[in-house]
């Protein structure tokens, strides 16, 4: 079956009157935000939900991907009559800063040199990504989001919203996430980055000018990362030691095992839709996240302004990337800050990726929380 690629997103470019101040000190101006929206913004402009995507996700949360043609990564959840009902809510999804699907990132042209930024693009943070989203929300004339929701890096952005712009939130739903990257998180990202940079086609980050692409490196980075998104159990269940189209091992380095073949496929299909330098920049941004440090060692301090925000967090039992303990750390900090927070650890065999999959308990929790919050908000 061939799939038809979806349409590319519309975008908005912020001119020199709205510069983007970055944490590293640099200023990005002009900058562009590509976005998808679903549903209608009501007259009171109080029914908007910002959906934040994960590391390699994009704004196509409920529409077909323009390159792969695959349905949006959360099309199961977002849509008319669905859990996040676009007949009731106005859903906004922006491509994150530093990414590669329309929002300004390292593959774009640096207006000062006329060449692609590559690794001369300023190093960005999660706070910078959220600052760009805030500019976009302002541009839409929305004073307060009904909710901000996201899993993984999307959850980090939701936390960042709570820390930086709590007054702009009525509720927040950070899922399977963390308020800081652990040494292990950073270690896995470093493996990915080194794989990209070790690829001779990376060309010190100038591969676009050299008209090549570090496919191998990016693909290996994706393979390593993919292992962290699934549980040992789910890999065993899916593949165990099953062999790929053969009865015996070949005493060679071909993909004898199904799991090898699967990972190679994950890597190979990823390079068609993602930019290698974007991968470097976004993983770096996640590594730099350390909200407790910003609260002088006490995470609760960064949520001082978020007392009024209704929060719902959840983690998954087999997620070892952002395990329950990391999510609970956030819950405890929110409690200490006096915020109204609900939390559950959801039983799932699928590891970190569970938030993208069908999990009835997650759906029930989300549905209950969002409906109750919407009733409270009167929308």
């Amino acid at each position: 079956m061939t799939s038809t690629p979806g349409k590319h997103s519309p975008s908005h470019t912020f001119d020199e009157n709205t510069p983007l101040q970055l944490d590293c000190g640099a200023v990005l101006s002009p900058f562009t935000v590509a976005y998808e929206t679903y549903g209608v913004l009501n007259e009171d402009k109080n029914n908007a939900i910002l959906v934040c995507h994960a590391l390699t996700g994009d704004q196509y949360c409920a529409s077909d991907h323009p390159i792969t043609g695959k349905p949006g990564w959360w099309s199961r959840i977002i849509g008319s009559g669905k859990l996040i009902d676009t007949d009731r809510y106005f859903v906004i999804a922006t491509n994150t800063l530093g990414s590669c699907l329309g929002t300004t990132g390292p593959k774009d042209i640096n207006p000062e040199t006329g060449k692609p930024w590559g690794v001369t693009f300023p190093v960005i943070t999660i706070a910078d990504m959220v600052r760009a989203q805030k500019h976009f929300i302002d541009h839409l004339g929305i004073k307060q989001l009904f909710s901000v929701i996201g899993g993984s890096m999307g959850g980090m952005q939701a936390l960042e919203w709570m820390a930086s712009y709590p007054e702009c939130l009525f509720s927040a739903i950070p899922i399977a996430t963390a308020a800081r990257h652990t040494a292990q998180n950073i270690a896995f990202h470093e493996v990915g980055r080194q794989a990209i940079m070790a690829d001779p086609n990376w060309c010190e980050g100038r591969y676009l000018e050299e008209e090549t692409f570090p496919k191998k490196g990016l693909s290996v980075a994706r393979m390593a990362a993919h292992i962290t998104y699934v549980s040992e159990d789910s890999l065993t269940k899916k593949f165990d030691r099953g062999l790929q189209n053969r009865d015996e091992v070949t005493f060679g380095f071909d993909a004898d095992f199904q799991v090898e073949s699967y990972l190679r496929h994950q890597g190979a299909s990823f390079v068609d839709r993602f930019d290698a330098n974007s991968y470097l920049y976004i993983t770096r941004a996640m590594d730099y996240l350390d909200l407790p440090k910003r609260g002088n060692g006490r995470l609760a301090n960064v949520f001082k302004g978020a007392k009024h925000v209704r929060c719902c967090l959840f983690s998954f039992t087999t997620d070892w990337l952002y395990p329950t303990a990391e999510n609970k750390r956030i819950v405890h900090a929110l409690n200490a800050a006096g915020a109204r927070v609900s939390f559950a650890e959801i039983e799932s065999p699928y590891g970190h990726d569970a938030f993208l999959l069908e999990e009835p308990e997650m759906d029930r929790l989300l549905d209950g929380f969002i409906s109750a919050a919407a009733d409270e908000r009167g929308i």
Binding site: N335, A336, R340, F343, A344, I346, E347, L365, F369, A372
Partner: protein, 204 residues
């Protein structure tokens, strides 16, 4: 005072002890019946802790704020005096360290409402005496190997512990199996009451 007529009788007894607008933590809040009622009828700023996923889901769907966790592990993460009142209903006897839990309740809350099934109730005593086996009654319905109640106590036992720990009983409400209050002293309640509710505070 609002009469909590729609609540389960044992919960209604608890609800009577709670004032308008108080900050409340319900530890082991189940399906959130008490929390929900108090939020709507007494405008409490309520939070809950519940062990079971299904209970948490039901609570969240009601618009309540509930964390999946347990009385022993998760109380330690709340700051001192976060709440006016903390409720622990029929759970103390199921904890590993009831004494530490009592102190934790009164660290995070100004007062604690603790209810227990009374192992000194005459029916329980009679069962043990007559059969020589661990009592199984209507309110203590699990067998010894199956029960989550690992630290059974009588009304006098708990009263003694409260005293020994330097805490004080502000209210004591013994009640029958229907949750109807009985008017009697600690000693008489110890054999007459099926269960009892204590409102406990730190000695000032």
């Amino acid at each position: 005072m609002v009469t909590p007529d729609k609540l389960r009788p044992d919960l209604a007894l608890i609800a009577e002890q709670i004032n308008e607008g108080e900050r409340l933590l319900d530890v082991g809040c189940g399906n959130g019946e008490l929390l929900h009622w108090l939020t709507h009828n007494k405008k409490v700023d309520g939070r809950g802790i519940e062990l079971g996923q299904s209970g948490v889901n039901v609570c969240v769907a009601k618009g309540l704020f509930v964390i999946q966790g347990d009385a022993e592990k998760d109380l330690s993460d709340y700051p001192d005096n976060s709440f006016d009142v903390v409720v622990l209903s029929k759970t103390l006897q199921a904890t590993h360290r009831p004494r530490e839990v009592l102190h934790a309740l009164l660290r995070v809350g100004k007062r604690a409402i603790v209810s227990i099934p009374n192992f000194g109730y005459w029916r329980v005593r009679y069962k043990l005496l007559a059969t020589g086996k661990m009592p199984v009654t209507r309110s203590l319905h699990s067998t010894w190997y199956d029960t989550s109640n690992i630290h059974f106590c009588t009304i006098l036992d708990l009263a003694e512990l409260i005293e020994a720990e330097g805490l004080q009983i502000r209210e004591f409400i013994p009640n029958n199996s229907l949750g109807e209050p009985l008017d009697c002293s600690l000693k008489r309640a110890n054999w007459r009451a099926n269960q009892a509710l204590f409102v406990i505070e730190n000695k000032s």
